[in-house]
Point group: C2
Chain length 334, copies 2
């Protein structure tokens, strides 16, 4: 498997996006996010989706690469913005930035965004907040991707949720879809002809299965914690649609294609609230307590959310980012 | 199984708490919450725990029934309060009330509470917000109750999270521990000598098991969604401890007994932000879309979070609340 240097990957993405007509700043931001997703080992939201992203942007159907965000409501520390179907990553970055500004003033800020396009990786925006020294919490709704508990019929989004907490040695980052394996992960496993390590859904016979293709075929990925992830996906969608005044999963599903999703961005000024020293001490104490847990497997490690990602990042920066040769060639040819 | 009328149950709890020395208002509030938990079918946080609660309150060890909440920090829309080891339900109710007040002024309010005692059912406070017309989000940390993913050694709380959204026909309520089955649920299944319907953890041989006692013995309840629930429990604890300046699960676990937990109460003025009509329409549309899903089992129903609880509430109010005869006699004898 070829390995590509981070800078080289960024440059190629950047070149293609400029060629596709993205304004310079937007081309740079989107290319950086795609390259960083690859750098961090989130291969489901990098090279794999890049050609489709460019195709959608160029088609212009329900995707306006020049659309500007607009503030459409202001309620104290909560603001409503309209993404006008612009590039999802550009809008999402601006909304988390705005939530951070609100949190600077009020300790907490919330931006509810409607009419956005796919933001790729939820963790990008939680990390953005953590990088600025804030707790970041964000989620998006999606079109229907999983059945509610008790049904075999898709009616819920997988509504990824990300939480970031600033840490000097590398931020804490939880980034999770409400399905046991996200759509992107499923694509990766399927592409590599691999089985999930644990059951990821039901097959068409209604049996729990580790086969990504069987689950895709049945349309029954498993919500995390069965009824619990089903319930969590439900309320995340409802809150996003209500606060943003935007589309719910129900509406997104009825319209067919996924565009114009609703997203929530929350920032909390934890440095001020906790105090810088207490922030560091508490985080280190909690991380340390976790690290002391005996691993089940010899040589295994018990890690905090985001820790393995940091290790992958270090590796990928040192040795280059592993890519599927064919997929990478496709980008070079674009 | 005997059935006790809600009012009768409230009166008995009330009588016992007054006898135990609770101030009149506090006795009434705690009795009401215990009785409402039973009314709503949350049997894990009613009669089952009442005698232990009274015992702890009377022992006075790390439980001060007369302690008053104190505001110890104010940062814009986020406030820090110290529960001074008072009755958990009394402190939690006051903190959600304060979060609602903050949300009335700023659309969103957050109270971070330290030094609290067990609040019993997380859903109580999310429902309190929903009843006032607000979105309520709250969670608590706990002492170590489950192993982080990759270890067999308990290092994480099960950190119940509750989310309430106001709905005219009965509020939406998600109330979930980060273990597949909460401690209370496990006690109930064990008491009734029943198996979990789905695997709830690992037995001492490291095999997934539906046997509540085998899981209690191994100390390995399953986090919802495996590594995902493990990560979510981790960040919920960290955020609660940081914002409250209170004990983390690590600290609670080191001290041995669980007292002085950290809790978060968030209220969002959804009626103002969404508008009353849009609130109703959006909620009904999302609920309706869910209800239309075909159930897997004939005669089954696909329900939103909190819907089955409302049905149980109706039944229990009409027919009385089912109780274990022995447990109920114990309360009568107190």
């Amino acid at each position: 498997m070829p390995h590509i240097a981070f800078e080289k990957m960024f440059e190629e993405f950047h070149r293609v996006l400029l060629k596709a007509g993205f304004a310079p700043e937007r081309a740079e931001l989107c290319a950086r996010i795609f390259a960083e997703n690859m750098r961090d080992g989130v291969y489901s939201h990098g090279l794999l989706r890049f050609p489709k992203f460019v195709e959608k942007a160029c088609a212009g159907n329900s995707f306006d690469i020049d659309a500007d965000l607009e503030k459409v409501g202001s309620f104290g520390v909560l603001e409503q913005w309209d993404g006008h179907l612009g590039p999802g990553m550009v809008n999402a970055t601006a909304c988390m930035e705005r939530a951070i500004e609100l949190a600077r003033q009020h300790s907490m800020g919330c931006v509810a965004l409607k009419n956005n396009n796919h933001w790729m990786r939820a963790g990008t925006y939680a990390l953005q907040a953590a990088e600025a020294g804030f707790i970041g919490i964000c989620w998006t709704n999606t079109t229907k991707l999983m059945p509610p508990w008790g049904s075999g019929e898709k009616r819920l989004g997988n509504n990824p949720l990300a939480v970031g907490v600033p840490r000097q040695e590398g931020h804490i980052l939880l980034d999770m879809a409400m399905t046991q394996y996200s759509g992107g992960k499923t694509m990766i496993y399927s592409h590599n002809k691999e089985s999930f390590p644990l059951p990821g859904g039901y097959d068409s016979e209604g049996e729990l299965s580790c086969d990504p293709d069987a689950i895709t075929e049945s349309g029954r990925p498993l919500p995390i914690g069965y009824w619990k992830g089903s319930g969590l996906a439900f309320v995340l969608d409802m809150i996003a649609a209500l606060l943003a005044g935007g589309r719910s999963t129900a509406q997104l599903s009825r319209q067919g294609d996924e565009y114009g999703v609703s997203q929530i961005f929350i920032a909390i000024d934890v440095k001020t609230v906790a105090g810088e020293q207490s922030l560091q001490e508490t985080v280190e104490d909690i991380v340390g307590y976790m690290h002391e847990a005996a691993p089940l497997e010899e040589g295994g490690a018990v890690t905090y959310p985001g820790e393995r990602m940091l290790e992958t990042r270090r590796q990928n920066l040192a040795q280059g980012i592993p890519v599927d040769a064919e997929m990478w060639q496709d980008v070079l040819d674009m």
